[in-house]
Symmetry: C2
Subunit: 300 residues, 2 copies
């Protein structure tokens, strides 16, 4: 029996990717539209879904993975909203209500990074694992945590990009986060790298000392997640991690930081199987939402 | 109907406290014995339980909150063991098997700090809350996290004492952790304070600058837990937190660290209701185990 079809929305600050899909290799319809005003953007998305639904089996759920911050607490009157984003027009925008009303479907609402994590845990780099952490290092830095097969949210979703870190001794960059001088995002996001070195991260040569500094920060973030709630595997995604030399440096720094203190089997060797790259590539956002939607359907 | 009776074991490196109890004010039997060799200690504890059982209703569960590290993974052949502790004689000791066999009871096995957390969430400082973090700052530093009413363990239990932190600029102490120079435990445990100031923490005057440095580290640890998985409330327990001036300093440092980035209702004001002291006092260990045992019975 094939997996149920899911309507998906990868909701980003620059573009929205809507799709109907069943899993890897089974993306039936897909459309990417620019993120303009909420009214215009949502109307275009609803039009896409209605049109797609008329051409195939109607899905039973819409799963959204969104940029944040987002209100995920079902008890909150703001549930389903993008909350205090600096993105023009989108602060306090209801992203669930309009789709629910127009499409008559239940909506699963998570952060984009949580969706990516769930996709990787179903079909990608953490297949079959229950305890997984995922960092996405791009313009900003997001993180998500799954423990015992469940996404971990407390009074809100993870904000791993704003963990406080210790400075690399050679790093005198002032930090790129307007709230915190020395947080992970302020020191290690693509934005921080570009400001520090005056070139985009992707143009920094593989042997540039900036990569060792970057690894120092990413390893600290991994170390701290490990000490709070130890995952079986940590996935490092996002544009900055496209530098092939970086992953080995982060493993090396993390091994030094842990210094043999924890002796889980998972942490043996050079951490090759502990700290890994995502596997789902460009379809990660869609597939993450498919996995979220299918999880919802299997539980309901 | 009264709560079911639970056999409890607060397993510490210095002493073991065994009890039979139903809840606050209902501790029926209690005995404290020194932690010597595993054989001797466990034999004395079994004797206490058998004797107590003969005088009252036989409990249906034994709940243990232990010093660590401990193997909590039910799938592991080492489940129920104290693992690689530096404590003489106790490394690789089965703490569940002997009780199960001698008493014929199911055994719930958690860390001491997880037990304390569950007790505070049932009867103490986080009554009725689902998302709670607990730090105990004593000779070492332990931490535990509950999210959605469940204790969070991944491939192992939390080791929050070994999060990496940024140095306070005025702190040139070399650190007290043999594994990590700059981890929370190495910089902020009672052991670290005593080594840094040459007096035990409890003898440091309330206006000593050491408390501001201590608060700097504890606030960073709270900040990082908050960014990984935001609790509704954080409880700071343990001997070092007996200094009444400390809690306000930690709140102050945490407020500065967050700098308004998160706007949960819980984080409003001076964080008086966010960062709190435990309430269960000397009975916290016993009551935590009672809560764990009753949770087990209600689920089974």
């Amino acid at each position: 029996m094939s997996n149920p079809i899911v309507a998906t929305l990868e909701s980003g600050g620059t573009k929205m990717v809507a799709a109907l899909a069943r899993g890897p290799g089974e993306i039936l319809f897909r459309e990417s539209i620019p993120t303009t005003s909420p009214d215009e953007t949502i109307a275009r998305l609803i039009h896409f879904y209605q049109n797609a639904f008329s051409q195939t089996v109607q899905p039973e759920v819409l799963a959204i993975g969104t940029f944040g911050p987002a209100e995920l607490d079902l008890q909150s009157p703001q549930y389903g909203f993008i909350t205090s984003t600096p993105k023009p027009y989108w602060s306090q925008t209801d992203l669930v209500g309009p789709f629910k009303k127009a499409l008559g479907l239940p909506v699963v609402f998570e952060t984009d990074v949580a969706a990516a994590l769930v996709g990787e845990a179903k079909w990608g780099a953490a297949r079959g694992m229950e305890h997984v952490a995922y960092f996405t290092v791009g313009t900003g830095i997001g993180g998500s945590l799954m423990m015992g097969g469940r996404l971990i949210h407390g009074v809100g979703h993870s904000e791993m990009g704003h963990m406080r870190l210790a400075r690399h001794p050679d790093d005198h960059f002032e930090g790129a986060c307007p709230f915190h001088r020395d947080c992970l995002e302020g020191l290690a996001s693509g934005t921080a790298m570009k400001k520090r070195w005056n070139v985009p991260a992707q143009e920094l040569p593989a042997d540039h000392p900036g990569w060792r500094i970057e690894a120092h920060y990413l390893a600290q973030a991994c170390c701290n997640v490990l000490m709070v709630a130890p995952p079986e595997r940590i996935i490092l995604g996002g544009g900055v991690n496209h530098q092939p030399a970086l992953l080995a440096l982060v493993r090396d720094e993390l091994r030094k930081l842990l210094n043999g203190y924890l002796n889980y089997d998972q942490l043996s060797g050079q951490l090759e199987s502990y700290l890994v790259s995502p596997e789902l590539g460009d379809d990660a956002g869609i597939l993450g939402c498919v996995a979220l939607g299918q999880q919802y359907l299997s539980l309901s």
